[in-house]
């Protein structure tokens, strides 16, 4: 019964996309289709999460073709957690986008294309989370990427085409890497089934394992925007419409992180690249946040913090162990919601203040106290201020790090401590960058804007060509409601941190033993 629900997660958005395309000229019907589909996926994902958590993971052989020849869909605790949180975020952002679309009937955003592309994007994200086969994972990636190309270049203005070209070419290269990696892995093992790979990869010579492992990590690293493969992100995300940027920032990089978790736990569980991941995680944090420091534009600033905070997740994956993975999973969930919320709030700021640059915004707190609250809570949350979930997630990661450093035998304890220090510094700089924006945009009086000089603004640089001012007179209620709902979700992550962390720990426990995954897909053992 539960198994029948699994394919629906991908099927519903795809059918919805087809329906939305047919209903291209009827905006209301399109909106209804989109919201109904995503709302039902939220329900299905929640049912799956409860079922998987109580009665164990589910594997479905699509079309009755048994693994390893057919495609398997696997839902374990990690997959279902990712499904639930991504479905919630996608639904809320769709509501926000509907609110925005109703308000400005702009020729720049052809809404008839937006809904189908958005649903296809959702299908790709969900497919990537439940893929039990490396090639199916690739297909999931391609579905979401193709939809994201359309969404990023929506309207085809010069600025978006320019930003889109960088994104598209980088994504194409990463797809080619991924496909080559699949080809070589197939050549070496004769399978693309993740569970079967887990057994067969371990039989390969050490050097071959390392080459395949690094090739796969490179493909996922580009998607997850890990330093030094992250250069494309701050250039391409900020130009898209606010809801699109919010979804991209919240979800797309996390799909890459999810794929890295699977790579490290199931496929290459024997092959150890801890030190590499540790160094990369630390560098991603520091380099990313130093980039954020010099940005005047809040969208670019947030894009850089996004890159930087991916570093925490890579650090958690490098640590491994139940505590490390549990903290990583909790951090991923926290970061998806908070980053999306901040980009949605930025959309509101843009409408309300008519700009996104720290040099042209002032007096927002007086003008709209609600906007102040909607920015302040997620900003503190991202900066890691207690008692919010950002603080809890980072503490969990640091505790896992300290734990592994104390019991460490491989002589990498100093490296772990160094990355923990980098994490603490990154957290403080994030807080600095966001409070600076808060001071300038919210606390500074409207009248002080002309000829204002401050040491805080000494080193910031404007976005290239970013002097477009798009003030609008109205802020639709639906946009505010959607943003508020997501802020409430982030607060809930804090309030229910105990049960959620227990759930993440249970998910991490099944991750640390690849045998669980293998025996799920092959109940009778592997030939």
């Amino acid at each position: 019964m539960i198994a029948a629900l699994v394919p629906l997660v991908v099927l519903l958005p795809l059918l919805g996309a087809a329906a939305a395309l047919i209903l291209g000229r009827r905006r209301r019907a399109q909106m209804a289709v989109g919201i109904t589909v995503l709302a039902s996926v939220v329900v299905i994902a929640a049912v799956l999460l409860v079922a998987v958590d109580t009665s164990g993971p589910v594997a479905v052989a699509v079309g009755g073709w048994e693994a390893p020849f057919g495609i398997v869909l696997v839902v374990d605790r990690l997959s279902s957690i990712m499904l639930v949180i991504s479905a919630i975020v996608l639904l809320v952002v769709l509501v926000y986008a509907v609110g925005q679309g109703v308000a400005d009937r702009h020729r720049e955003t052809p809404v008839s294309i937006f809904h189908p592309s958005y649903l296809v994007l959702s299908a790709g994200v969900f497919n990537a989370f439940i893929a039990g086969d490396l090639f199916n994972l690739f297909v999931g990636f391609e579905i979401l990427l193709a939809a994201s190309y359309v969404l990023l270049t929506l309207g085809g203005t010069g600025e978006r085409i320019r930003a889109g070209v960088t994104y598209i070419v980088v994504s194409l290269v990463s797809s080619l890497f991924f496909l080559s990696a699949i080809a070589l892995i197939y050549g070496a093992t004769g399978t693309a089934n993740i569970a079967q790979l887990s057994v067969r990869i371990a039989e390969l010579p050490e050097s071959v394992q390392l080459i395949l492992h690094l090739l796969l990590l490179m493909a996922f690293g580009i998607k997850a925007a890990v330093f030094p493969l992250s250069f494309w992100l701050p250039d391409s995300y900020p130009t898209a419409p606010a809801p699109v940027t919010a979804v991209f920032a919240g979800l797309l990089t996390k799909v890459g992180v999810y794929a890295i978790i699977r790579t490290e736990t199931v496929i290459f569980s024997e092959n150890d690249v801890t030190v590499l991941l540790m160094v990369i995680g630390g560098l991603t944090m520091l380099i990313g946040i130093l980039g954020a420091l010099t940005q005047a534009d809040i969208k670019r600033l947030l894009s850089f913090t996004l890159v930087s905070h991916i570093g925490y997740m890579i650090f958690g994956i490098a640590l491994g162990g139940v505590l490390g993975f549990a903290a990583t999973i909790y951090y991923v969930v926290h970061h998806i919601t908070v980053q999306t919320t901040l980009f949605l709030t930025t959309g509101l700021i843009e409408r309300f203040g008519g700009a996104t640059s720290i040099n042209r915004l002032a007096g927002l707190l007086k003008a709209s106290p609600l906007l102040g609250v909607l920015f302040f809570i997620p900003a503190l949350n991202l900066g890691g201020i207690p008692p919010f979930s950002g603080f809890l997630g980072k503490t969990g990661l640091f505790l896992a790090g300290a734990d592994s450093a104390n019991t460490d035998a491989a002589g990498t304890a100093w490296l772990v401590w160094a990355v923990i220090a980098a994490g603490a510094i990154t957290s403080l700089i994030t807080l600095y960058a966001l409070t600076r924006f808060w001071n300038m945009a919210f606390w500074r009086g409207r009248g002080e804007l002309e000829g204002y000089e401050s040491v805080l603004l000494g080193s910031v640089q404007e976005a290239p060509g970013g002097d477009t001012v798009t003030a609008s007179r109205t802020t639709p209620v639906l946009m505010v409601v959607a943003t508020t709902a997501l802020v409430v979700v982030t607060v809930c992550l804090t309030v229910f941190a105990g049960p959620l962390f227990d759930l993440a720990s249970r998910a991490a426990e099944s991750l640390t033993d690849p045998g669980v995954y293998v025996s799920l897909v092959f109940p009778g053992g592997i030939r």
Binding site: A146, G156, G164, Y186
Partner: protein, 150 residues
């Protein structure tokens, strides 16, 4: 595992040519490079299926050792379809990019400000001309008023 040397050489040439073209600035060449590398990857997948054999159709009394591996062929087919879609999108993007470069940022869109400006001028003309008419009528009326008492 055996592999055809011709295919290996072809793959290497496609990879090399594709990557060097992809490094060009022009978007059209990037697309051509992507197509070449994409095909090189497809050949790589095909090479990984091992020695060629007879058609992999079960139920014909074939010896499983003699058929060729069907799975990589499925992968190649899927990847060709994906490449086709991406190529169509890229062509649209190239065209759009070229179009914007030819016509500038505004393209063939009517300039909002200029439109407003023209409207304003027309309105001003209308007011001016109607004001002149009004004045003329007033003059006539005044003249007729003056004539009435006689």
């Amino acid at each position: 595992m055996t592999a055809s040397l011709t295919l290996v050489v072809l793959m290497a040439v496609l990879f090399g040519a594709g990557i060097s073209i992809m490094l060009e600035r022009s978007l059209t060449r990037v697309l051509i490079g992507f197509l070449l590398v994409g095909n090189a990857v497809n050949i790589l997948i095909y090479l990984m299926s091992g020695a060629p054999g007879t058609a992999p159709i079960l139920g014909e009394g074939l010896d499983p050792d003699e058929i060729s591996d069907p799975l990589p062929q499925v992968f190649v087919l899927t990847s060709i379809v994906i490449n086709l879609g991406i190529t169509a999108f890229m062509l649209a993007l190239v065209y759009r990019s070229w179009w914007l470069a030819q016509l500038g940022e505004k393209g063939d869109l009517v300039d909002d400000e200029a439109e407003d400006l023209e409207d304003a001028e027309e309105a001003a003309d209308l007011i001016r001309s109607s004001a002149a008419d009004d004045a003329a009528i007033q003059e006539l009326l005044d003249a007729s008023d003056e004539e009435v008492p006689r």
